[in-house]
């Protein structure tokens, strides 16, 4: 049960941070992406504020173990593949269209009203469909 309680705590911090920073406000997100309109630089501060504690957290992981045991995630393969580029581009398009990404979508469900629920339902559908889409991609061009 310990793992679950700490996960709840981390998720709670994430949710509070998303709420306070304005990441669940679709206007703000689209304002950040709208470089030719009324550009809103807030998101750069959000990203900066989040990266700083994580930068030190990663350094702390050297030669140590997580509090609850096991191992820290291995350094991933640095190879930039086709799926990373295609997936990130599709994600960015959706992010721009609605002003919501996965974390803020969940964080805003309780107060966002039906548009946030509809976006959430569509996002889940996309996640269910994704493995089949990935197979399609791999069959079109041999995987890298």
């Amino acid at each position: 049960m310990k793992r679950e309680l700490y996960a709840l705590f981390a998720g709670g911090l994430f949710g509070v941070g998303l709420f306070i920073s304005g990441m669940t406000e679709t206007d703000k997100v689209q304002g950040w992406l709208d470089v030719f309109g009324q550009w809103d630089p807030t998101l750069a501060f959000v990203m900066g504020g989040a990266i700083i504690p994580m930068f030190f957290a990663w350094r702390y992981t050297n030669n140590r173990q997580p509090v609850l045991g096991g191992d820290f995630p291995a350094k991933p393969d640095p190879k930039v593949g086709r799926n990373l580029i295609i997936g990130s581009t599709l994600f960015g398009m959706g992010w721009g269209l609605a002003g919501l990404c996965p974390g803020p979508s969940i964080a805003s469900l309780s107060y966002g009203g039906w548009p946030h629920w509809l976006f959430f339902a569509a996002m889940i559908s996309g996640m269910i469909f994704a493995p089949r889409f990935r197979e399609r991609l791999d069959s079109m061009v041999p995987a890298e």
Binding site: Y6, A7, L8, A10, G12, L13, F14, V16, G17, F19, I20, S21, G22, D27, Q30, D34, V35, G37, L43, A50, I52, P53, M54, F55, W58, P66, V67, L68, G69, P76, N83, I86, G87, S88, F91, M93, G94, W95, G96, L97, A98, G99, L100, C101, P102, S108, L109, Y111, H116, L118, F119, A121, A122, I124, S125, G126, I128, F129, A130, P131
Partner: protein
């Protein structure tokens, strides 16, 4: 309006603390799309409860703030087609790319991981072009 960047910085730091807690205590990368996606497609069966509790925290904490402090006006579009297409793109895209703003952006960049940096550049570029195209040229959003 001048307060926005302070709230962004403070909120961002809390997001980073959440990610740091999840990493240092549970030993996991805090990626919202990965945690949710693993529940949805069954690939995260081994850590089902941990994922569920994390997502419950993401949902409940803002709900409590709104309950006690009052909500914020949401400005999400009410265009059903835009919402559905956007949601599908975010769902498929984050799973194909293996991450989103939290996983690639917050956890990847802070590790100076090339994949995280490249993913972030591409989703911000794609988002920027999409907003310019659909707001200023097509007038849809």
């Amino acid at each position: 309006m001048q307060m926005d960047w302070i709230m962004g910085l403070v909120g961002g730091a809390i997001i980073g603390l959440g990610a740091a807690a999840y990493l240092l205590i549970n030993g996991k990368i805090m990626g919202a799309s990965g945690i949710l996606g693993g529940l949805v497609d069954g690939s995260g069966r081994d850590s089902f409860r941990e994922r569920l509790f994390f997502l419950a925290g993401v949902f409940i904490a803002p709900a409590l703030i709104v309950m006690f402090r009052g909500g914020i006006e949401t400005q999400a579009t009410t265009n059903v087609l835009v919402l559905v297409v956007a949601g599908l793109l975010v769902g498929v895209g984050t799973r194909i790319a293996n991450g989103c703003t939290s996983g690639h952006g917050v956890c990847g960049i802070s590790r100076l991981n090339l994949r995280g940096i490249v993913a972030t550049v591409f989703y911000i570029l794609a988002g920027g072009i999409t907003v310019v195209l659909f707001r200023h040229i097509l007038g849809v959003i």
